[in-house]
Structures are given as structure tokens and as C-alpha cells.
Amino acid sequence: MNHPIVIIVEHACGEIRPAAYELVTLARTIRETTGSEIKAVVLGDNIQDAAERFSAACAVPVTAVSDIRLRGYNAELYTMVLKTLLTGVQPAYVCVSHSSQGADFVPGLALHLSAACISGVEGVHAGEEGLRFYRSIYGGKIRAEIKPVAATTVLTLQPGSFKPDAAEEEAEACVQPFDITVPDPSFGSLVLETVPSEGIDLSEAKVLVAAGRGIGEEENLDVVQQLAAQFPQSATCGSRPIIDAGWMPYSRQVGITGATVAPSLYIACGISGASQHVSGMRSAGFVVSINSDPGAAIFNASDICIVENLSVFIPVLIEQIRNFHG
């Protein structure tokens, strides 16, 4: 019972990432089975305020590791500090966001802790044989159920899979420092370069027509644009391969490494429905998907599913809309 559940709180210069609150929900779900205590850990420089805010908001005790060398994210230092700290804590579970940071340091940390490592967790199954964790495979077509068989399990949580949890009750902030000598990194270090956002703001569109790799050729963007033009306050956007190919600017990318959108209507054309894309559009009001593969994962996240070749179907649809408008 004394093996706690530890949340690693991610923040940007002291601003706690919304995904950190989703970890609280995951931790509480695990606690229903294990009954263990929930704790949190924050790494950074001058991190006391953020630690207090998180502790008060979520009613969990927080251990804060403050060091100037932890001002920015550094995989080597994070791994070293967390390995030392967690070896002392002996947690049953460690919950981390499946973000660019979490996904980066967690597998190595798990290996150092001889822990199980389950990445991109989307759900928990509490059965007679203990806890198992769901994660997507095959582009989201299949769900795998993974059982940890180690004393410690490190989980990374797919953003958007759990609702962020607020405090169960009002709580006094409880923050403890953790003293550790943080060395200079030996591998080298990276510096965050924020890129000013430019281009279209997708959040203003009421209707988004999204193109995926299934459009095949750049020329087929035309028909996607024509479809968008049938709706007022509409815009086109794309999945990552469309932006990678240079067919649309980055500002039109939807997904975890692009924009998160919530239009009234989202029409996905030739998009398979990988969780990295779906995370960016799951709050849309109504979702229509056109895909030639009846097993495409995007259909699970759609209200209306159309199994068709998009380059045949969309022109027919446009024609009918035009006829209706007369």
C-alpha cells in the first residue's frame, strides 16, 4: 500500500500544462484499484509557485526540484534527477504526459528503473487480474491491452484521453523540496526556440474540410478547396503528411503537433484517424469522414461515415450541393 502513484507535472516556464491535470484523473482511476497515495513531482527553476498552485488545485503533495540547470527541459538531467528521486520513492505507477517531453525521456527512465513502460495510454481496464492499459496500434484500428509485470510502471498518457480533474476538496498547498546536485549535462543541451505563429487561425472557421494523404496528389487539393467553398466561414486544413509534403502551410496542420480545432463541422477526406490527428479535432461539433477503407480508424471518431474514393465522391457531392443552391 505504501507504493505511491507519482504524477510528473509538465509546465512551460512555470505555466502548468493542461495535460498535467489529465494525469490526475488517470492517477485517481488507478487509485480506485490500488488504494495508493498520489504524489506529484515538478522539475524546474524557481518552481515553488507552480508547485504550490498544482498542489492546492489537485489536493496532492508535490515534491519540487528547483535548479537553474532545470530551467529548460533536458532529457539527460530529467532522467538523472527522476531516477534518483523515484528510486527513493519506489512508486507503483509513474504518470507522465505523452508530450514531446514525456515521450522523450520516459522509455530511458523506465529502463533505468527496471520499470514497465506503456506509452500513449488511452484507457484503463481494472479487472480481476489487476490493472491493464489500453493503447492504440495500427493507426488506431486496433486497441491493445497491456499488463505491466514489474514493481514500477511508467505510463505516458495520450493527451485528451481523460478529462482533466479538479480537486476533490479544497486543499492547502503541500510542497516539499528535494535536494539534489544537478550536474552540467554531458551530452549537450538544447534551447527552446519559440516560433511566432503566423498564417491562418483555424479556430475562426465554423466548417473545416481536412485533406489527408488519401488525396493522393497535390492537384486533388482543388476538389477539397471547392468542397470547403460550399460552406460559409469555412477553411481547409490537413493532416501532417499534407503539411510535410509542402502542399499546405504549417498553420493548417491539425493534430498534436499542429492546431487543436473545434469547428461545428469537420469533414475528413482521406485521413486514416491516427490518434495524433484525432487529438486535434475530437472536440468538433459534427464529423463526416470520407475514406475508401471501411476499417479506417477515423470512422470511430465520426458521426457520418462514407466509404468512397474521395476523388469520385466529392465532385458528386459538390454537384448536388450546387444543384440545391440552384
Binding site: S99, S136, Y138, F187, G188, I243, D293, A301, F313
Partner: protein, 264 residues
């Protein structure tokens, strides 16, 4: 430019096409890839091979080894990499077509790579089938080298002792800086446009031996987690499939869009 003599290892995986019919095989609690299944190289790994070949073009003394872990058919991605410009191939041949845990895969590659003094190891950011984003970081931890994940830009320093990298983080921002070699980079798509294999190189590759190591990774009992079951994901919306001819479906969709006042 200095004679660098870099040694690069690229990890490549064979995956089914996104369109492949994936069904659940209740007897094995794993999946089967349906009918006329087409397999190809993981897209992230194509970018990793391309990144290695670009370095070799700038530093001609570079040697590129590629390695795959998989069943017999996986050899195709090793040959393809050689067609793109890799020099040597290795294949850790697994007995089954079934599930292999990321820890087993990374462990097998680490054992193979350990004493080969690679300056740079490249993997994809993620495999499109298992979607773990684990094998690269695990391999780096095994080999005790730096790990830069989601690399979107990489440029080797002239002395080939450091590499300037940019990695992608949320919101279109990047983390950038110089990393000491040896290092492992997991490659994100968009970093480059992978070339098609050259026929001449493919033919040459076909005459080259690929080092085959047999390994029974499906039975690996040392992994700290186990796959226990597979199922179909839950629907998060209604998922109503429209039926009929193309025109029928278009008409039904038009009516739905009208009912919901998206078209007025």
C-alpha cells in the same frame, strides 16, 4: 572538408499499408493482416535512411548500416534502404509474425550494435503499426548515448564530433542545439523527402549478403510488460455508415447537412 569516416546505424521496420485490412485473431490474441496485404517501410524510417544518406553525401567516408527486426518478409526494407544508399544490411530474424515488445526489439538491436562504435544511430520517431515511440529512446539508454527524439533538422559539424539538431515540440516550436556524438536521433517526418531507391543500387544490394541473426523475441520473458489482448477501439461518435450508390450517399449527406443547417 575533413575525412570523417562516420559510422551510422539506421533502424528500419516493415509495416503494413495504412489501408491494410487488420482483423483480430482470437486464437492468438493478436491480429492478422488481411488478404492481399502490402507491406512497406515505416515512413518515419524512410526519412531516417534519407537523413543518413544525406550525411554520406556530405561526408563520403561515411558507412551506413541498416538493421531490421522482423520475419523473413522484413528483408525487403533492408534491401530498399540499400537501394536508397545504405551500405550494409543486417536482419534480426524473428520466428513469428506476431507481436514483439519494444523492450525485446530495442534489446536485440542494442546487443547487435553495442561493440560497433556507431557515431550516430537513427530511428524513426514512431512505428506506424505499434506506435510506441519507444524503441529509439530505449536503444539510446541501452547504449548510454544522447537521445534526441522528434528530430526535424540535423546537420553534422565539419569535425563530425557534434551534430546540430532541432527537435519538434508542441505548438510549432523547436528545441535546438549541438549534441556530442555518439548520439541517437529519432526522426520525425517532414525533415526531408525520402528518395526512391535507385535501380542500380537495388541490383547491387540484391547481390550483397545481409547478415542474418535468428532470435526468438516473441517468447521473451524478460520484458516488464505483456500484451494480453487486442480488441476493436470504442466508437466515440455515432459512426453511421451511409449506404447505396455514390450518388445516393451524396444525397443522404446533403440532406444531413441541410437538416443541421450547415447548408442553407
Amino acid at each position: 572538408m575533413q575525412n570523417a569516416g562516420m559510422k551510422i546505424l539506421v533502424c528500419v521496420k516493415q509495416v503494413p499499408e495504412a489501408e491494410a485490412q487488420i482483423s483480430i485473431d482470437a486464437s492468438t490474441k493478436w491480429i492478422s493482416v488481411g488478404g492481399a496485404a502490402e507491406y512497406r517501410m515505416n515512413r518515419f524510417d524512410e526519412c531516417a535512411v534519407e537523413a543518413a544518406v544525406l550525411i554520406k553525401e556530405a561526408f563520403p567516408d561515411t558507412v551506413i548500416d541498416v538493421i531490421t527486426v522482423g520475419p523473413e518478409r522484413a528483408e525487403a526494407v533492408v534491401r530498399r534502404s540499400m537501394g536508397m544508399g545504405a551500405d550494409n544490411g543486417a536482419h534480426i530474424l524473428t520466428e513469428t509474425d506476431g507481436y514483439v515488445d519494444a523492450f525485446a526489439t530495442a534489446g536485440a538491436i542494442a546487443a547487435h550494435a553495442r561493440n560497433k562504435q556507431y557515431d550516430l544511430i537513427l530511428t524513426g520517431a514512431m512505428s506506424e503499426d505499434l506506435m510506441q515511440a519507444q524503441v529509439g529512446p530505449l536503444l539510446a539508454a541501452h547504449l548510454e548515448v544522447a537521445c534526441i527524439s522528434s528530430t526535424i533538422h540535423a546537420e553534422l559539424a565539419a569535425d563530425a564530433k557534434k551534430i546540430y539538431v532541432e527537435r519538434e515540440v508542441e505548438g510549432g516550436s523547436r528545441e535546438a542545439g549541438n549534441i556530442n556524438l555518439p548520439a541517437l536521433l529519432t526522426i520525425q517526418t517532414g525533415i526531408n523527402t525520402p528518395r526512391y531507391p535507385a535501380l542500380s543500387k537495388l541490383l547491387r544490394a540484391n547481390n550483397k549478403d545481409i547478415a542474418v541473426v535468428e532470435a526468438d523475441l516473441s517468447e521473451d520473458a524478460s520484458t516488464p510488460q505483456r500484451l494480453v489482448d487486442v480488441s476493436l477501439p470504442e466508437k466515440t461518435r455515432d459512426a453511421v455508415f451511409l449506404e447505396g450508390s455514390t450518388a445516393d450517399k451524396a444525397e443522404q449527406l446533403l440532406n444531413i447537412l441541410k437538416e443541421r443547417s450547415f447548408i442553407i
